[in-house]
Protein backbone atom coordinates (compact mmCIF):
# COMPACT_ATOMS: atom_id res chain seq x y z
CA UNK A 1 0.00 0.00 0.00
CA UNK A 2 1.09 3.57 -0.63
CA UNK A 3 2.32 5.44 2.42
CA UNK A 4 2.72 9.14 3.22
CA UNK A 5 6.28 9.47 4.50
CA UNK A 6 6.85 13.22 4.72
CA UNK A 7 5.30 16.65 4.37
CA UNK A 8 7.50 19.51 3.23
CA UNK A 9 6.63 23.19 3.31
CA UNK A 10 8.92 25.51 1.37
CA UNK A 11 8.85 28.89 -0.29
CA UNK A 12 9.56 28.67 -4.02
CA UNK A 13 11.38 31.96 -4.66
CA UNK A 14 12.83 31.93 -8.21
CA UNK A 15 16.11 33.48 -7.02
CA UNK A 16 16.84 30.20 -5.17
CA UNK A 17 16.78 28.41 -8.50
CA UNK A 18 19.03 31.06 -10.03
CA UNK A 19 21.50 30.77 -7.12
CA UNK A 20 21.68 26.99 -7.61
CA UNK A 21 22.02 27.30 -11.39
CA UNK A 22 24.71 29.97 -11.17
CA UNK A 23 26.74 28.26 -8.45
CA UNK A 24 26.17 31.04 -5.88
CA UNK A 25 25.07 28.87 -2.97
CA UNK A 26 28.27 29.49 -0.98
CA UNK A 27 28.19 33.27 -1.38
CA UNK A 28 27.54 35.16 1.88
CA UNK A 29 23.99 36.15 0.90
CA UNK A 30 23.01 32.56 0.09
CA UNK A 31 25.14 30.42 2.43
CA UNK A 32 22.79 30.58 5.45
CA UNK A 33 19.79 29.79 3.26
CA UNK A 34 21.34 26.67 1.77
CA UNK A 35 22.73 25.60 5.15
CA UNK A 36 19.18 25.86 6.44
CA UNK A 37 18.04 23.40 3.75
CA UNK A 38 20.68 20.77 4.47
CA UNK A 39 18.78 18.88 7.18
CA UNK A 40 15.83 18.52 4.80
CA UNK A 41 18.07 17.18 2.04
CA UNK A 42 19.76 14.73 4.41
CA UNK A 43 16.47 13.38 5.73
CA UNK A 44 14.88 13.05 2.28
CA UNK A 45 17.99 11.16 1.11
CA UNK A 46 17.26 8.66 3.93
CA UNK A 47 13.53 8.46 3.30
CA UNK A 48 13.88 8.28 -0.52
CA UNK A 49 10.28 9.02 -1.52
CA UNK A 50 9.20 7.32 -4.74
CA UNK A 51 6.74 10.07 -5.59
CA UNK A 52 6.50 13.71 -4.55
CA UNK A 53 3.13 15.41 -4.89
CA UNK A 54 4.06 19.07 -5.30
CA UNK A 55 1.37 21.60 -4.51
CA UNK A 56 2.41 24.84 -6.20
CA UNK A 57 1.10 27.72 -8.20
CA UNK A 58 1.78 28.51 -11.81
CA UNK A 59 2.97 32.12 -12.27
CA UNK A 60 1.29 33.07 -15.55
CA UNK A 61 3.34 30.35 -17.20
CA UNK A 62 1.29 27.40 -18.46
CA UNK A 63 -1.98 28.93 -17.30
CA UNK A 64 -2.65 32.55 -18.23
CA UNK A 65 -5.78 34.70 -18.02
CA UNK A 66 -7.51 32.67 -20.73
CA UNK A 67 -7.92 29.61 -18.48
CA UNK A 68 -7.75 29.66 -14.68
CA UNK A 69 -8.37 26.33 -12.97
CA UNK A 70 -8.62 26.61 -9.20
CA UNK A 71 -7.05 23.16 -8.73
CA UNK A 72 -5.31 21.27 -11.56
CA UNK A 73 -3.68 17.84 -11.30
CA UNK A 74 -0.89 16.81 -13.67
CA UNK A 75 -1.53 13.27 -14.88
CA UNK A 76 0.99 13.23 -17.76
CA UNK A 77 4.18 11.18 -17.99
CA UNK A 78 6.52 14.17 -18.09
CA UNK A 79 6.54 17.91 -17.59
CA UNK A 80 9.07 20.20 -19.27
CA UNK A 81 10.39 23.33 -17.51
CA UNK A 82 8.58 26.43 -18.80
CA UNK A 83 10.37 29.38 -20.45
CA UNK A 84 9.65 32.20 -17.98
CA UNK A 85 11.47 34.75 -20.10
CA UNK A 86 15.07 33.67 -19.54
CA UNK A 87 14.79 30.39 -21.44
CA UNK A 88 13.64 27.29 -19.51
CA UNK A 89 15.41 26.63 -16.16
CA UNK A 90 18.34 24.27 -16.81
CA UNK A 91 16.94 21.46 -14.66
CA UNK A 92 16.01 17.87 -15.52
CA UNK A 93 12.66 17.12 -17.08
CA UNK A 94 10.10 16.29 -14.39
CA UNK A 95 8.85 12.70 -14.69
CA UNK A 96 5.21 12.09 -13.83
CA UNK A 97 3.39 9.00 -12.64
CA UNK A 98 0.28 8.63 -14.82
CA UNK A 99 -0.97 5.47 -13.07
CA UNK A 100 -0.85 7.09 -9.63
CA UNK A 101 -2.04 10.43 -11.05
CA UNK A 102 -5.14 8.84 -12.53
CA UNK A 103 -5.79 6.99 -9.29
CA UNK A 104 -5.66 10.32 -7.43
CA UNK A 105 -7.91 11.96 -10.04
CA UNK A 106 -10.55 9.25 -9.77
CA UNK A 107 -10.41 9.10 -6.01
CA UNK A 108 -10.52 12.89 -5.50
CA UNK A 109 -13.28 13.58 -8.01
CA UNK A 110 -15.49 10.81 -6.62
CA UNK A 111 -14.70 12.27 -3.18
CA UNK A 112 -16.30 15.51 -4.53
CA UNK A 113 -13.13 17.52 -5.29
CA UNK A 114 -13.73 18.50 -8.90
CA UNK A 115 -10.17 18.96 -10.13
CA UNK A 116 -9.07 19.95 -13.61
CA UNK A 117 -6.88 17.24 -15.16
CA UNK A 118 -3.88 18.25 -17.23
CA UNK A 119 -1.80 16.04 -19.48
CA UNK A 120 0.32 18.56 -21.39
CA UNK A 121 1.80 20.81 -18.72
CA UNK A 122 4.97 22.86 -18.56
CA UNK A 123 6.12 23.62 -15.02
CA UNK A 124 7.67 26.85 -13.77
CA UNK A 125 9.82 27.79 -10.76
CA UNK A 126 6.84 27.20 -8.47
CA UNK A 127 7.38 23.47 -8.94
CA UNK A 128 11.07 23.16 -9.90
CA UNK A 129 12.52 25.38 -7.15
CA UNK A 130 11.09 23.10 -4.42
CA UNK A 131 12.75 20.17 -6.22
CA UNK A 132 16.07 22.07 -6.15
CA UNK A 133 15.54 22.85 -2.46
CA UNK A 134 14.94 19.17 -1.71
CA UNK A 135 17.40 17.49 -4.04
CA UNK A 136 20.03 20.01 -5.22
CA UNK A 137 21.34 19.53 -8.75
CA UNK A 138 21.07 15.86 -9.72
CA UNK A 139 21.35 14.66 -13.35
CA UNK A 140 17.75 13.56 -12.99
CA UNK A 141 15.22 14.05 -10.21
CA UNK A 142 15.29 11.08 -7.79
CA UNK A 143 11.50 10.69 -7.70
CA UNK A 144 8.42 10.85 -9.85
CA UNK A 145 6.32 13.99 -9.42
CA UNK A 146 2.60 14.71 -9.42
CA UNK A 147 2.00 18.44 -9.93
CA UNK A 148 -1.01 19.85 -8.07
CA UNK A 149 -1.43 23.41 -9.26
CA UNK A 150 -3.51 25.90 -7.25
CA UNK A 151 -4.69 29.28 -8.48
CA UNK A 152 -3.40 31.97 -6.13
CA UNK A 153 -2.74 34.64 -8.79
CA UNK A 154 -6.33 35.50 -9.71
CA UNK A 155 -8.50 36.64 -6.80
CA UNK A 156 -10.23 34.79 -5.27
CA UNK A 157 -8.03 31.78 -4.59
CA UNK A 158 -9.66 28.84 -2.80
CA UNK A 159 -10.20 29.24 0.94
CA UNK A 160 -7.71 27.88 3.42
CA UNK A 161 -10.34 25.46 4.63
CA UNK A 162 -10.92 24.12 1.12
CA UNK A 163 -7.17 23.52 0.87
CA UNK A 164 -7.09 21.68 4.19
CA UNK A 165 -10.05 19.52 3.16
CA UNK A 166 -8.43 18.77 -0.20
CA UNK A 167 -5.31 17.66 1.65
CA UNK A 168 -7.39 15.26 3.74
CA UNK A 169 -9.04 13.87 0.60
CA UNK A 170 -5.60 13.49 -0.94
CA UNK A 171 -4.56 11.42 2.08
CA UNK A 172 -7.60 9.15 1.69
CA UNK A 173 -6.69 8.71 -1.98
CA UNK A 174 -3.04 7.89 -1.21
CA UNK A 175 -4.01 5.43 1.54
CA UNK A 176 -6.26 3.61 -0.94
CA UNK A 177 -3.53 3.15 -3.59
CA UNK A 178 -2.50 -0.53 -3.70
CA UNK A 179 1.11 -0.09 -4.93
CA UNK A 180 3.90 -0.06 -2.33
CA UNK A 181 5.18 3.47 -2.83
CA UNK A 182 6.50 6.11 -0.46
CA UNK A 183 4.85 9.48 -1.02
CA UNK A 184 6.03 12.92 0.10
CA UNK A 185 3.79 15.95 -0.20
CA UNK A 186 5.12 19.45 -0.72
CA UNK A 187 3.15 22.59 0.09
CA UNK A 188 4.98 25.51 -1.47
CA UNK A 189 4.92 29.31 -1.72
CA UNK A 190 4.93 32.11 0.83
CA UNK A 191 5.78 33.01 3.41
CA UNK A 192 5.16 36.75 3.85
CA UNK A 193 5.98 38.80 0.79
CA UNK A 194 4.49 41.42 -1.44
CA UNK A 195 5.97 41.86 -4.90
CA UNK A 196 3.63 44.59 -6.14
CA UNK A 197 2.64 48.18 -5.49
CA UNK A 198 3.89 50.79 -3.03
CA UNK A 199 3.88 48.15 -0.30
CA UNK A 200 6.36 45.95 -2.24
CA UNK A 201 8.93 44.40 0.07
CA UNK A 202 6.52 43.80 2.96
CA UNK A 203 7.67 41.11 5.41
CA UNK A 204 5.92 40.05 8.62
CA UNK A 205 8.21 37.64 10.46
CA UNK A 206 6.28 37.53 13.73
CA UNK A 207 3.02 36.67 11.92
CA UNK A 208 4.79 34.01 9.81
CA UNK A 209 6.20 32.27 12.87
CA UNK A 210 2.90 32.16 14.73
CA UNK A 211 1.28 30.90 11.53
CA UNK A 212 3.89 28.13 11.30
CA UNK A 213 3.35 27.17 14.96
CA UNK A 214 -0.37 26.89 14.38
CA UNK A 215 -0.06 25.12 11.03
CA UNK A 216 1.77 22.39 12.93
CA UNK A 217 -0.40 22.19 16.02
CA UNK A 218 -3.83 23.52 15.01
CA UNK A 219 -4.26 23.54 11.20
CA UNK A 220 -8.02 24.02 11.48
CA UNK A 221 -7.40 27.37 13.09
CA UNK A 222 -5.02 28.43 10.29
CA UNK A 223 -7.56 27.20 7.73
CA UNK A 224 -10.12 29.69 9.06
CA UNK A 225 -7.92 32.76 8.48
CA UNK A 226 -9.59 35.02 5.94
CA UNK A 227 -8.00 36.10 2.66
CA UNK A 228 -8.36 39.69 3.90
CA UNK A 229 -6.21 38.97 6.95
CA UNK A 230 -3.55 37.18 4.88
CA UNK A 231 -3.45 39.99 2.31
CA UNK A 232 -3.08 42.56 5.06
CA UNK A 233 -0.62 40.72 7.29
CA UNK A 234 1.48 38.64 4.88
CA UNK A 235 1.22 40.69 1.67
CA UNK A 236 -0.61 40.13 -1.57
CA UNK A 237 1.70 37.28 -2.57
CA UNK A 238 2.07 35.94 0.99
CA UNK A 239 -1.47 34.64 0.60
CA UNK A 240 -0.05 31.67 -1.31
CA UNK A 241 0.80 30.07 2.05
CA UNK A 242 -2.70 28.52 1.84
CA UNK A 243 -1.08 25.84 -0.34
CA UNK A 244 0.81 24.54 2.72
CA UNK A 245 -2.59 23.57 4.15
CA UNK A 246 -3.03 20.92 1.43
CA UNK A 247 0.24 19.33 2.57
CA UNK A 248 -0.77 19.63 6.22
CA UNK A 249 -4.18 18.07 5.55
CA UNK A 250 -2.51 15.01 4.02
CA UNK A 251 -0.57 14.31 7.23
CA UNK A 252 -1.77 12.91 10.54
CA UNK A 253 -3.48 15.29 12.98
CA UNK A 254 -0.40 15.01 15.22
CA UNK A 255 2.96 15.37 13.50
CA UNK A 256 6.63 15.47 14.39
CA UNK A 257 8.61 18.50 13.30
CA UNK A 258 11.74 16.96 11.78
CA UNK A 259 13.11 20.32 10.60
CA UNK A 260 12.10 23.96 10.66
CA UNK A 261 13.94 26.96 9.22
CA UNK A 262 13.05 30.60 8.60
CA UNK A 263 15.16 33.29 6.98
CA UNK A 264 14.70 36.89 5.80
CA UNK A 265 15.31 37.89 3.09
CA UNK A 266 15.45 35.66 0.07
CA UNK A 267 15.04 38.19 -2.73
CA UNK A 268 11.83 40.02 -1.69
CA UNK A 269 10.47 37.13 0.36
CA UNK A 270 10.52 35.58 3.82
CA UNK A 271 11.80 32.04 3.29
CA UNK A 272 10.13 29.31 5.33
CA UNK A 273 10.95 25.60 5.41
CA UNK A 274 9.25 22.80 7.32
CA UNK A 275 9.69 19.03 7.30
CA UNK A 276 6.87 17.17 9.01
CA UNK A 277 6.57 13.44 9.59
CA UNK A 278 3.64 11.41 10.84
CA UNK A 279 3.71 10.46 14.55
Amino acid sequence: MAKVVAGVGTSHVPAIGAAVGQGKTQEPYWKPVFEGMQALRDRLAEIRPDVCIIVYNDHASYFALDLIPTFALGVGSQFQPHDEGYGPRPVPVVKGDPQFGWHLAESLILDEFDLTLVNELTVDHGLTVPLSVAFGQPGEWPCRVIPLCVNVVQYPPPTGNRCLQLGRALRRAIDAYPEDIKVAIFGTGGLSHQLQGERAGLINASYDNVWLDQLISDPERVARISHLELLRETGSEGLECIMWLIMRGALDPHVQVAHRFYHVPVSNTAYGLLLLENG
Binding site: H59, A60, D83, Y86, L195, Q196, G235
Partner: protein, 135 residues
Protein backbone atom coordinates in the same frame (compact mmCIF):
# COMPACT_ATOMS: atom_id res chain seq x y z
CA UNK B 1 -22.33 47.20 -15.71
CA UNK B 2 -19.11 49.02 -14.98
CA UNK B 3 -19.55 49.54 -11.30
CA UNK B 4 -16.55 48.65 -9.18
CA UNK B 5 -17.57 47.22 -5.86
CA UNK B 6 -15.94 48.52 -2.75
CA UNK B 7 -14.01 45.73 -1.09
CA UNK B 8 -12.53 45.53 2.35
CA UNK B 9 -9.09 44.94 0.83
CA UNK B 10 -9.23 48.36 -0.86
CA UNK B 11 -8.31 49.59 2.60
CA UNK B 12 -4.88 47.98 2.35
CA UNK B 13 -2.47 50.67 1.14
CA UNK B 14 -0.26 50.26 -1.92
CA UNK B 15 -1.82 46.93 -2.87
CA UNK B 16 -3.64 46.09 -6.12
CA UNK B 17 -5.55 42.88 -5.49
CA UNK B 18 -5.98 41.16 -8.84
CA UNK B 19 -9.71 40.60 -8.75
CA UNK B 20 -12.29 40.43 -11.52
CA UNK B 21 -12.32 44.22 -11.97
CA UNK B 22 -8.55 44.28 -12.53
CA UNK B 23 -8.79 41.21 -14.70
CA UNK B 24 -11.26 42.85 -17.07
CA UNK B 25 -9.35 46.10 -17.20
CA UNK B 26 -5.97 44.46 -17.73
CA UNK B 27 -6.71 41.42 -19.88
CA UNK B 28 -4.97 42.54 -23.08
CA UNK B 29 -2.15 44.26 -21.22
CA UNK B 30 -1.41 41.11 -19.27
CA UNK B 31 -1.65 38.90 -22.32
CA UNK B 32 0.88 41.14 -24.09
CA UNK B 33 3.27 40.56 -21.18
CA UNK B 34 2.48 36.85 -21.23
CA UNK B 35 3.41 36.62 -24.92
CA UNK B 36 7.02 37.37 -23.94
CA UNK B 37 7.36 33.77 -22.70
CA UNK B 38 8.06 32.86 -26.32
CA UNK B 39 11.58 33.63 -27.52
CA UNK B 40 10.43 34.55 -31.06
CA UNK B 41 8.02 37.11 -29.58
CA UNK B 42 10.80 38.61 -27.47
CA UNK B 43 12.88 38.99 -30.63
CA UNK B 44 9.99 40.61 -32.48
CA UNK B 45 9.27 43.01 -29.61
CA UNK B 46 12.94 43.96 -29.37
CA UNK B 47 13.25 44.50 -33.11
CA UNK B 48 10.16 46.68 -33.49
CA UNK B 49 8.30 47.51 -30.27
CA UNK B 50 5.57 49.64 -31.85
CA UNK B 51 4.55 47.12 -34.46
CA UNK B 52 4.59 44.40 -31.83
CA UNK B 53 2.31 46.41 -29.53
CA UNK B 54 -0.18 46.83 -32.39
CA UNK B 55 -0.97 43.13 -32.06
CA UNK B 56 -2.62 43.77 -28.68
CA UNK B 57 -5.76 45.77 -27.90
CA UNK B 58 -4.18 48.11 -25.37
CA UNK B 59 -5.75 51.38 -24.27
CA UNK B 60 -3.64 54.47 -25.07
CA UNK B 61 -2.80 54.73 -21.35
CA UNK B 62 -1.70 51.09 -21.20
CA UNK B 63 0.38 51.46 -24.35
CA UNK B 64 2.11 54.50 -22.97
CA UNK B 65 2.72 52.82 -19.58
CA UNK B 66 4.32 49.87 -21.38
CA UNK B 67 6.49 52.16 -23.50
CA UNK B 68 7.48 54.24 -20.48
CA UNK B 69 7.97 51.16 -18.24
CA UNK B 70 5.76 52.80 -15.63
CA UNK B 71 5.73 49.81 -13.26
CA UNK B 72 3.24 51.31 -10.82
CA UNK B 73 1.04 52.71 -13.59
CA UNK B 74 0.85 49.27 -15.19
CA UNK B 75 -0.67 47.86 -11.98
CA UNK B 76 -3.19 50.69 -11.81
CA UNK B 77 -4.21 49.98 -15.41
CA UNK B 78 -5.03 46.35 -14.64
CA UNK B 79 -1.59 44.77 -14.82
CA UNK B 80 -0.79 41.83 -12.57
CA UNK B 81 2.74 41.67 -11.17
CA UNK B 82 3.42 38.15 -12.47
CA UNK B 83 2.59 39.42 -15.96
CA UNK B 84 4.19 42.88 -15.79
CA UNK B 85 7.31 41.27 -14.33
CA UNK B 86 7.73 39.43 -17.64
CA UNK B 87 8.32 42.88 -19.15
CA UNK B 88 10.89 43.57 -16.42
CA UNK B 89 12.60 40.25 -17.19
CA UNK B 90 12.60 41.27 -20.86
CA UNK B 91 14.49 44.43 -19.81
CA UNK B 92 16.93 42.39 -17.70
CA UNK B 93 15.61 43.85 -14.45
CA UNK B 94 15.30 42.08 -11.10
CA UNK B 95 12.36 42.03 -8.69
CA UNK B 96 14.29 44.55 -6.58
CA UNK B 97 14.34 47.00 -9.51
CA UNK B 98 10.61 46.59 -9.97
CA UNK B 99 10.03 46.80 -6.21
CA UNK B 100 12.01 50.03 -5.88
CA UNK B 101 10.22 51.58 -8.87
CA UNK B 102 6.76 50.61 -7.56
CA UNK B 103 7.50 52.06 -4.12
CA UNK B 104 6.55 55.39 -5.69
CA UNK B 105 8.97 57.32 -3.52
CA UNK B 106 11.95 57.51 -5.85
CA UNK B 107 13.59 54.74 -3.85
CA UNK B 108 16.84 53.46 -5.37
CA UNK B 109 17.38 49.78 -6.08
CA UNK B 110 20.20 49.83 -3.55
CA UNK B 111 17.93 51.30 -0.87
CA UNK B 112 15.30 48.65 -1.66
CA UNK B 113 17.88 45.86 -1.34
CA UNK B 114 19.04 47.30 1.96
CA UNK B 115 15.46 47.49 3.23
CA UNK B 116 15.08 43.77 2.45
CA UNK B 117 18.37 42.95 4.21
CA UNK B 118 17.12 44.93 7.21
CA UNK B 119 14.02 42.73 7.48
CA UNK B 120 11.78 44.09 4.74
CA UNK B 121 9.10 46.75 4.69
CA UNK B 122 7.47 46.70 8.12
CA UNK B 123 3.81 45.80 8.37
CA UNK B 124 3.34 48.35 11.14
CA UNK B 125 1.94 51.49 9.57
CA UNK B 126 1.14 49.61 6.35
CA UNK B 127 -1.86 47.49 7.33
CA UNK B 128 -4.57 49.96 6.53
CA UNK B 129 -5.07 53.33 4.86
CA UNK B 130 -6.27 54.61 8.21
CA UNK B 131 -2.90 53.65 9.63
CA UNK B 132 -0.92 54.95 6.65
CA UNK B 133 -2.06 58.45 5.75
CA UNK B 134 0.27 58.56 2.75
CA UNK B 135 -0.76 55.13 1.48
Amino acid sequence: MNTTRTREYHDIPGTYVFDGDHYRKGYHLNMLCKSLDIAANRDAFRADPNTYLDRFRLSPEQRSAVQGRDWLGLLRLGGNIYYTFKLAIFDGLSMQHAGAAMSGTGMSVEAFRQMMLDGGRPVKGNRSRREAPHG
